[in-house]
Symmetry: C2
Subunit: 361 residues, 2 copies
């Protein structure tokens, strides 16, 4: 077990920001990535936290991702806004889109935000949570690198293609989920490979197209969608919404584009926002919110249940007080990147070097 | 095996329409229900075809559903239309909403249709398929009677809560799926009960809260969401979108409302439409559609795959030529209802009387 270093959330943010600026990101991008990384560490979603920083840097150094382009906003329709990220990371584009999308949703009842030409290595809950913080219902869809076979098939085609959803709550953070349409996260398989553990049934098939419980064969073969044909249908929908609908890459095209094998996917994203009060006849928001609370109450009244983001929200309370624990090896990598002693030319996602650093604890 | 009667699709439509008018539906409702029933028979989706007619009649005779109210249209926001079905069946309200929703989607890029106070015993693919026929992307969400436990829980709370999606294709019917968020349809469990077959793992729990493979225990207990916590999260989202968002029933409330135990759920529905061309910068619709076709081609290039609605579309070709086969017992029930010799006071959904009629073949 590697030694752990305690960092406050402020330190996570300032280190990330300084590091990214040192590595060539402009202030706006460094700030927006630091926001997302810090939010992930705060919620103990470590796979999208400090662990990801070398990936951001790698993407920039590879020449595929940009770190200094201001996203460009345009209107595609009265209720459809487009942001061209100019191959920067989605973090800044999504932040820039927040209030624009919220304003349109309030004006028209429902609105959509298209992000084009963005590199994406974030979770999908931050943007829908921010919409919920503004009192709106949010949904988000993105495709990814091609790792997942369609149901019945044997070869990688879909990304892990997540979708997220958030519903605002008055006395706390939103009801929110962010789920891959694959049976497991890719990182879960990598962790099991490192630990010499087998995979459960239904996660993956090997390069021979046959079900496998061997993590290595799974990584060489294909992941499977969750829930068979249903998950596969959802994954297809997400390919369409984040790809052809918005005029951007399919997951396979994103994979072809990533010639440097950075593991960062490039493409489009779709975010929808609805203003709940514009869906009611009586305009009684309090009643509407209370109605949703009744549902949450009925779910939680059953022993053994939980709401999707409850673990994140519990972590959030902890880390606000106690900060986060970071493996020393990762901490040292971050310090080297911050001081300029390292340049970001680290192993890609498929290597387990970085994974070891993060998960050794 | 019961004797089968061949009916042409025209006969299915005219019989359904005449029967419903005889039983007290007005012309508009009889027509719209006949449209949906015929479309289901055409696609060999028998659970939403002629089999359902006694349920429509039961709902009306129970006094819960209306059969003569014209749906009322109003605007909730520029891109949000509301149709109050006045406790009629959703079929007519959805048909009335088609062009209104399509027009708004073309105008604003994205738009929503809220249906309130409707009884719903239809599949969700007809309305999104009709939107796709108009060149739009459609999504639809509805809750149902409470049969499904939340993941981790043991008591019925959610409906089978389906969602549907359709993407227009230029040379044929759309890419379309319509899926319950429960692991199985309720009818599947009833069929296995009749046939004395066990249930696969993951479908249901008994009244004791423990996993069961006994169909009877499953019907007394609770169905399970598909894909564990992920399906449960989707089911919750659908409860929110078709309930509190639009100011209508949760599945549990729909269950409480159905005092006559008709098995017909009452509540709200949400339909979204997007005009794909309003999501593109270059306005090249042909290119956009070709891009989606590339995805479908890549899926189908893998042996063992299929697109979600392919079976329906294959059936559609068959039945256009050869009509449909209807079990004699069901045929006789329909004739009795059409002539007024029967009044619709048949067994409810939980009884397997009707089920036997339909599935005996």
């Amino acid at each position: 077990m590697s030694k752990m270093i305690n960092m406050s959330l402020e330190e996570v943010h300032s280190t990330t920001r300084a590091l990214l600026e040192k590595q060539g990101f402009n202030e706006a991008h460094a700030q927006s990535i630091a926001n997302t990384v810090t939010a992930a560490e705060r919620d103990e979603c470590r796979h999208h936290g400090l662990f990801r920083i070398p990936f951001y840097v790698n993407g920039l150094k590879s020449g595929l991702a940009t770190g200094d382009k201001e996203p460009t906003v345009s209107d595609l329709a009265p209720a459809v806004i487009r942001i061209d990220a100019h191959y920067g990371y989605s973090n800044l584009a999504l932040e820039r889109g927040d209030h624009l999308l919220a304003d349109r949703a309030r004006q028209f009842g429902i609105a959509a935000l298209v992000i084009n030409h963005c590199h994406s290595i974030v979770a999908l809950w931050p943007e829908v949570e921010r919409l919920a913080d503004r009192g709106l219902v949010g949904m988000s869809f993105v495709s990814a690198s091609p790792y997942v076979a369609p149901a019945g098939g044997t070869k990688p085609l879909f990304g892990t293609n997540p979708m997220s959803f958030a519903w605002p709550r008055q006395d706390g953070p939103p009801f929110c989920f962010d789920m891959a349409t694959s049976a497991s996260a890719r990182g879960e398989i990598q962790i099991r490979m490192r630990d010499g553990r087998q995979l459960p049934e239904g996660w993956a098939i090997g390069p021979d197209g046959k079900p496998t419980s061997d993590p290595k064969q799974a990584l060489l073969g294909a992941q499977l969608p969750f829930g068979g044909f249903k998950g596969s249908a959802l994954a297809t929908m997400i390919e369409l919404l984040a790809g052809p609908l918005v005029g951007d890459f399919l997951s396979v095209e994103s994979g072809e584009y990533d010639t440097a094998n950075t593991g960062t996917c490039c493409g489009g994203q779709l975010v929808l926002a609805m203003d709940p009060i514009r869906f009611m006849t009586n305009g009684n928001r309090e009643q509407q919110m209370a109605h949703a609370e009744k549902l949450f109450g009925l779910i939680l009244a059953q022993e053994g249940t939980r709401l999707p983001s409850d673990r994140r929200y519990e972590a959030r309370k902890r880390t606000a007080r106690h900060g986060v624990e970071v493996p020393q090896s990762l901490y040292e990598t971050l310090q080297a990147l911050k001081s300029g002693k390292a340049d970001g030319s680290l192993n890609g996602y498929e290597g387990d070097h970085l994974l070891k650093q993060t998960t050794a604890a």
